[in-house]
């Protein structure tokens, strides 16, 4: 799985951080999303998918890759 974030679209709602804190963080100075782990381990895939689904700004893109 490969994750990317669009910082321009992010509206700082923090849902991703609440859902998958190991993979997403928010910058202290403006609340914008920071990607901590572009290729999260398989046990985190479910929470990353959930974060992408609930992001109110559709700022998270998940690309599923075979065997990754």
């Amino acid at each position: 799985m490969k994750v990317s974030v669009d910082q321009d679209r992010c509206c700082g709602a923090g849902q991703c951080v609440l859902t998958a804190p190991e993979v997403f963080d928010q910058r202290d100075d403006d609340g914008v999303v920071v990607l901590l782990d572009e290729r999260p381990a398989p046990d985190r895939h479910a929470s990353v998918r959930e974060a992408a689904a609930v992001c109110p700004a559709a700022a998270i893109t998940v690309t599923e890759e075979p065997d990754a």
Partner: protein, 405 residues
């Protein structure tokens, strides 16, 4: 908006305070772009499908109408005042780059991490409020005892407002939003008082800025010369109170009512309190009493479901109807406390989606956790169908939640 459509009147009737209007289902199916008449008599387009509501809310070209747009009004002339119509002098940047800058300046105070840091304080406040409710004896009103005070205490802390002024804040908040209970004149007076209070508060903060939100914004301005003007600080303080208080207060009452209306839900949470997070999300999705939805004023033509909505149309996006759309949620009419993911639209979506959602979520989770722990025998003191509804127009909810334990 086919011309032969009969204009429906908002608000749509419901049989019971926790149930959705039967009309939603028909509208999603047959008339996803309907014509409605608002209480003001003005007409608007009404969206009820998930995809349509989400697409329009996330469309950065459009925003909530403000005074002077000529958009459809919710309430008749003179009723409702500033919160209903948008106020001229004290407005925040509401679109484009200036809006994003404002959001980021204020939004950094509402990050998930900060909310986690505020949580222990919120738990103490909620515990104290529940203890007080227990002390006053059964039956009690959960709205007055916990739902209403918790968010106002929390926002006062965030804004650095002293505890002894909390009751004045509650009054102002109530006056801005209870469009039908207070006259336009009354809301105007409350508005002026609140502006005077906030101006003085900001003066005081400038002399001695603390670690609260306003103190932080003032310090920033003094150190890097950027930041919000006094007018913007006042509008921010006021906007946060108005946007965050009644909505959260109502939601606490509705969430607890939904969970108690079917004992199995409450028992399920007692058996497994780790469901609190998903139960809060599902309550947010399931709540049918969110008010009409969000308005958007079209400044360009838009096509939705093959229909052309011309520039100048006011669109009402019904998030609660979208949240029950079978196209987006399996078993949409069933409350499933384990539902995940739950991409409901209760906080809106896109560039204007709720700035305070991490705070609101934390408050709801804390309220529920503390109730489960302290009052496991909690139950409604009246049948769910008899829960009294709020009479205001902007925010739907229950005016009281009679409970016993």
């Amino acid at each position: 908006m086919r011309p032969d459509d009969q204009a429906l009147r908002l608000p749509l009737p419901t049989d019971s305070p926790l149930e959705p209007p039967a009309e939603w289902e028909r509208l999603r199916r047959q008339c996803p772009v309907a014509t409605v008449e608002l209480p003001s008599g003005d007409r608007a387009a009404f969206l009820t499908r998930y995809d349509h509501v989400k697409a329009l809310l996330t469309d950065a070209r459009f925003t909530r109408p403000k005074a002077g747009d000529g958009a459809a009004r919710i309430a008749p002339e003179g009723v409702g005042g500033p919160a209903a119509d948008g106020d001229g002098a004290l407005t925040l940047p509401d679109r484009g780059e200036p809006h994003q800058r404002w959001r980021r300046q204020v939004g950094k105070y509402f990050t998930a991490k900060r909310m986690t840091a505020l949580r222990p304080g919120m738990v103490r406040t909620a515990e104290h409020l529940v203890d007080e409710m227990i002390r006053r004896g059964r039956p009690g009103d959960l709205k007055a005892g916990l739902g209403f005070p918790l968010p106002v205490y929390v926002i006062c802390d965030i804004l650095g407002v002293p505890a002894e002024d909390r009751d004045r804040f509650s009054h102002w908040s109530d006056a801005f939003l209870n469009v039908t209970r207070f006259s336009g004149e009354h809301t105007r007076a409350a508005h002026d008082e609140f502006v005077a209070y906030m101006s003085a508060h900001i003066e005081a903060i400038r002399a001695r800025p603390g670690d609260d939100l306003l103190g932080m914004l003032v310090k920033e301005r003094e150190t890097d010369g950027e930041g919000l003007s006094d007018q913007e600080l006042i509008a921010t303080g006021m906007g946060l109170l108005v946007a965050g208080h009644e909505t959260t207060a109502n939601m606490i009452g509705k969430m607890v009512s939904l969970l108690l209306a079917d004992r199995g839900r409450w028992e399920g949470l007692l058996a497994d309190p780790s469901l609190v997070r998903t139960a809060v999300e599902e309550s947010l999705r399931f709540d049918a009493n969110l008010g009409f939805g969000m308005r958007r004023y079209l400044t360009e033509d838009v096509e939705i479901d093959g229909e052309l909505l011309p520039s100048g149309t006011t669109v009402v996006c019904s998030m609660p109807a979208a949240n029950r759309d079978e196209r987006a949620f399996a078993d949409a009419d069933r409350m499933d406390l384990t539902r995940s993911p739950n991409p409901h639209l209760t906080f809106g979506a896109g560039p204007h989606s709720c700035l305070g959602q991490a705070l609101a979520r934390t408050e709801l989770q804390v309220a529920l956790e503390v109730l489960l722990r302290k009052l496991p025998t909690l139950r409604l003191a009246v049948p769910a169908e008899e829960l009294p509804r709020v009479q205001g127009l902007l925010v739907g909810g229950l005016s009281a939640v009679p409970v016993t334990w």
